[in-house]
């Protein structure tokens, strides 16, 4: 279960993993306020992990989350035509 030290490497590897099999990949976010840390895991039965205690990473992680969410709901144009028919 590779753990990444830099956000850059993690986000690139995570995106690649998702694009390899979008239906299988999932993102898990674990936040502990009492300990003051945040852990992101992207897995499709193979895990990539990134842990942080830095406030500056929250913004990056939240953007990453939104980016993946958009990727998942993309390809709407095809579906819209199917629904209207």
């Amino acid at each position: 279960m590779p753990q990444y030290q830099t956000w850059e490497e993690f986000s690139r590897a995570a995106e690649k993993l998702y694009l390899a099999d979008p239906m299988k990949a999932r993102v898990v976010l674990k936040y502990r306020h009492s300990d003051g840390n945040l852990c992101v895991k992207v897995t499709d039965d193979l895990c990539l992990v990134y842990k942080t205690e830095q406030a500056q990473d929250v913004k990056k992680i939240e953007k990453f989350h939104s980016q993946l969410m958009r990727l998942m709901v993309a390809k709407e144009s095809r579906n819209v035509t199917m629904e209207t028919e």
Binding site: E8, S11, R12, E15, P22, M23, A25, R26, V27, V28, L29, K30, Y31, R32, H33, S34, G36, N37, L38, T52, E53, Q54, A55, Q56, D57, V58, K59, I61, E62, K63, H65, S66, Q67, L68, M69, R70, L71, M72, V73, A74, K75, E76, R78, N79, M82
Partner: protein
């Protein structure tokens, strides 16, 4: 597992974060969803099931209480703004970085990052913000060292 509407999910998620402030973790899971409501049978045919491509499933739990919601492309814009604000507002218990060279770097990086993201082309943008950030850092440290 409670399936909620997007707005209600956001409200419940806020409550989960507030509940776990003193102890415990909040787990959030994001996964692409194709709209199936029945499990895939081991043999035999799946009955005329048309996989939808434009939805994702969001789950949250604090270990005891579970909530979930489905977000589709139509709701994603509104939901995403509210969701991002929620995450940023609640995940504020982390350590702040060293102020001196980071404030200059993060401001520049944030400005560059937001401009790049706004221009769409998300996969390309993931690579490009890295390069403007790194030349800025040595420039900032050189400036502070000179002073």
């Amino acid at each position: 597992m409670v399936l909620l509407e997007s707005e209600q999910f956001l409200t419940e998620l806020t409550r989960l974060f507030q509940k776990c402030r003193t102890s415990g973790s909040v787990y959030i899971t994001l996964k692409k969803y194709d709209g199936r409501t029945k499990p895939i049978p081991k043999k035999g045919t799946v009955e005329g099931f048309e996989p939808a491509d434009n939805k994702c499933l969001l789950r949250a739990t604090d270990g005891k209480k579970k909530i979930s919601t489905v977000v589709s492309s139509k709701e994603v814009n509104k939901f995403q703004m509210a969701y991002s604000n929620l995450l940023r507002a609640n995940m504020d218990g982390l350590k702040k970085r060293d102020k001196k060279n980071k404030t200059k770097k993060t401001k520049a990086a944030a400005a560059a990052a937001t401009a790049a993201v706004a221009a769409a082309a998300a996969p390309a943008a993931a690579a490009t913000p890295a390069t403007p950030a790194t030349p800025a850092a040595p420039a900032a440290t050189a400036a502070t060292a000179a002073q």
